[in-house]
Symmetry: C2
Subunit: 361 residues, 2 copies
């Protein structure tokens, strides 16, 4: 095998990161285990209980229930599935802000539910009036995002909970990326703050675990019963996960990262990342770009396509929002030095892009 | 973290195994990569192309298309999903032998398709007459199993292809476990043998890759389009996978295992495993147990529940079929020595189970 993994020194667009050393060690140790078969692999199954207990602490959930998923997509699909099973209608719908992750489109397609997408306001948070206007008797689920993929914004979760429950629907919070930074902010986002029923919260994003380690939390274990299928030939009797065989490496890695970092390590990482985001936003604003204020450690800025392409050509792993803004996620591996080097390249390439190429003669 | 992974020296029930050393190394090297985001992680995305090319060789598929899944369950769900999307009906059904994996029940529940379960014959292969009687104009998919979970049997795949296509349905072959041993047998099971449309074939089972590395193969790339959703904010434009973030470790590990072992390493492993299965079947038969003949390296035998429980109590990781038979999978880590030790414990515990316990006075 001639190919090597990319280094992280130019990765600015990923919501994954270089795992914490303890998380990497745990992943390597548990590579050959399958928490999907707890009768055969009891030790990693016990670790999964620890992982859920720790996630529950982070997300304000007493007596937490849930499991370690392959990632946020699986957690989001399963949340929609629980709501569909619970809904007393043959044509369930799900109400989601336009800032919701594309995995909900996947979920709606898979599960045959109608997805009602409502606009966000000028602060990129869901428009509550639009949510109120969209829910009806067939609404199974309202989705709020706590840390949006494109702008790092937090929807008004308590208000969404009120709207959802008044309509007889459930509330799902997608904190897949935000869940490990929000505890150090004043945002109201979790089970303790609002009538949240289910949540996606991913150790393998800001939690610094190795992929694959997503998290699905549910307010009551009974909600998992909606997902259960019988498992003949396994010594366990049923399975509530979307996948069958699962990664023990992800589970062990999640526990190791959370044991090493919750809460103080995550707090100082949040401060570092948020400071970096603020620094980057300032640097971009000074250069005249329109910047979306980084409420969480994620910066979006209106950089011309030609400059964007030149930066990608220079090896920077960057991506764009749906409306074309440059988007940079200040993950733990993203240092001030990297950002300074990026801004240096931006200055260099932006100048070049605006200077006409001299002809040869 | 005080918990350690279990050793493999008593694991007899798993369809996963200790990864090949090259596969383990590759997994460790690619722990922090995400093939679900090829714009950011191009190297592991390139490796995934290699993985699919190798899987195509193994499964007799020219110009192979597909992707590395989280496991057989995801591949099976996606196959049902493709068929549902392709079917020209509002109430699609799927016809499956009773030996089909429980992941198809999960798929049917998720996707809202009717699952028609047909019986198997006295050789544990699907009853073709029952399949013919079950297909109709609404049949989207016929499922055949090439290496069943409980008995290691191979359904008549070419005949299933004829029935499926005559009914305007697709044929999916579940070779999740069997795909890495069947190339060394006379069975007709793959794209080159029959009108197979989609297949599950898992490197992380008999392929000796690290979890999570399942495989979905499709006869034509157009079939993947049925699964695609748009991916705003990623530099790639669409995603055909069920999950979003995926394990680069699994992808790299699959390539490393297949490069190291295909075909000669897998052939000698098959011979070793099959010889072990034959030896175990003989040993059990000599002791008077009814044994289901191991067509592939998987042995089922009618051992009393008390003996089964005593063996589990002695630390053996064994499981039972739906009808209660002891089931042992001769994976690469299962040595003759392990099996001899297991039979030794069986003799010891079986005797004890049948000797009444003496009272104290």
């Amino acid at each position: 095998m001639q190919i090597e993994p990319q280094a992280f020194d130019r990765v600015l667009s990923s919501m994954c990161t270089d795992p914490h050393p303890a998380a990497r060690d745990a992943a390597e140790q548990f590579l050959a285990t399958n928490p999907g078969d707890p009768g055969t692999y009891p030790n990693v199954a016990a670790l999964e209980d620890d992982a859920i207990a720790l996630l529950g602490e982070i997300a304000g959930l007493d007596d937490p229930a849930g499991y370690i998923t392959s990632g946020g997509t699986e957690a989001n699909i399963q949340a929609v599935r629980i709501a569909r099973e619970r809904a007393d209608t043959r044509s369930p719908n799900v109400v989601m802000p336009e800032s919701g992750h594309f995995s909900f489109r996947k979920a709606a397609d898979l599960l045959g539910v109608e997805l009602r997408v409502v606009p966000t306001d000028d602060r990129h948070r869901v428009d509550l009036e639009a949510v109120r206007a969209s829910v009806d008797d067939d609404t199974a689920l309202v989705i709020g995002v706590a840390g949006t993929t494109e702008y790092g914004r937090v929807d008004p979760i308590p208000e969404l909970g009120e709207i959802a429950h008044a309509a007889g629907a459930m509330l799902h919070v997608d904190a897949a990326w935000g869940g490990f930074v929000l505890p150090f902010t004043d945002h109201e986002w979790h089970f303790g703050h609002a009538a949240v029923d289910t949540m996606a919260i991913d150790p393998h994003k800001m939690g610094q675990a190795a992929v694959p380690a997503g998290g699905l939390l549910v307010r009551s274990p009974a909600l998992l019963d909606e997902l259960a299928v019988d498992t003949p030939y396994l010594e366990s009797t049923s399975q509530a996960t979307l996948t069958g065989t699962r990664s023990g490496a992800g589970v062990a890695s999640a526990v190791a990262a959370m044991e090493a970092l919750w809460p103080e390590g995550y707090r100082s990482q949040y401060v570092r990342s948020q400071n970096n985001a603020t620094w980057l936003a300032d640097a971009l604003e000074k250069r005249g770009y329109r910047v979306v204020d980084p409420v969480l450690p994620l910066v979006a800025a209106d950089v011309p396509r030609s400059t964007f392409d030149a930066l990608r050509g220079a090896g920077w792993r960057i991506s764009r929002t749906a409306t074309g803004e440059l988007r940079i996620v200040c993950m733990p591996h993203v240092s001030r030095e990297m950002l300074a080097s990026f801004i240096g390249d931006l200055d260099r390439l932006e100048v070049r892009a605006s200077v006409p190429v001299a002809s040869d003669d």
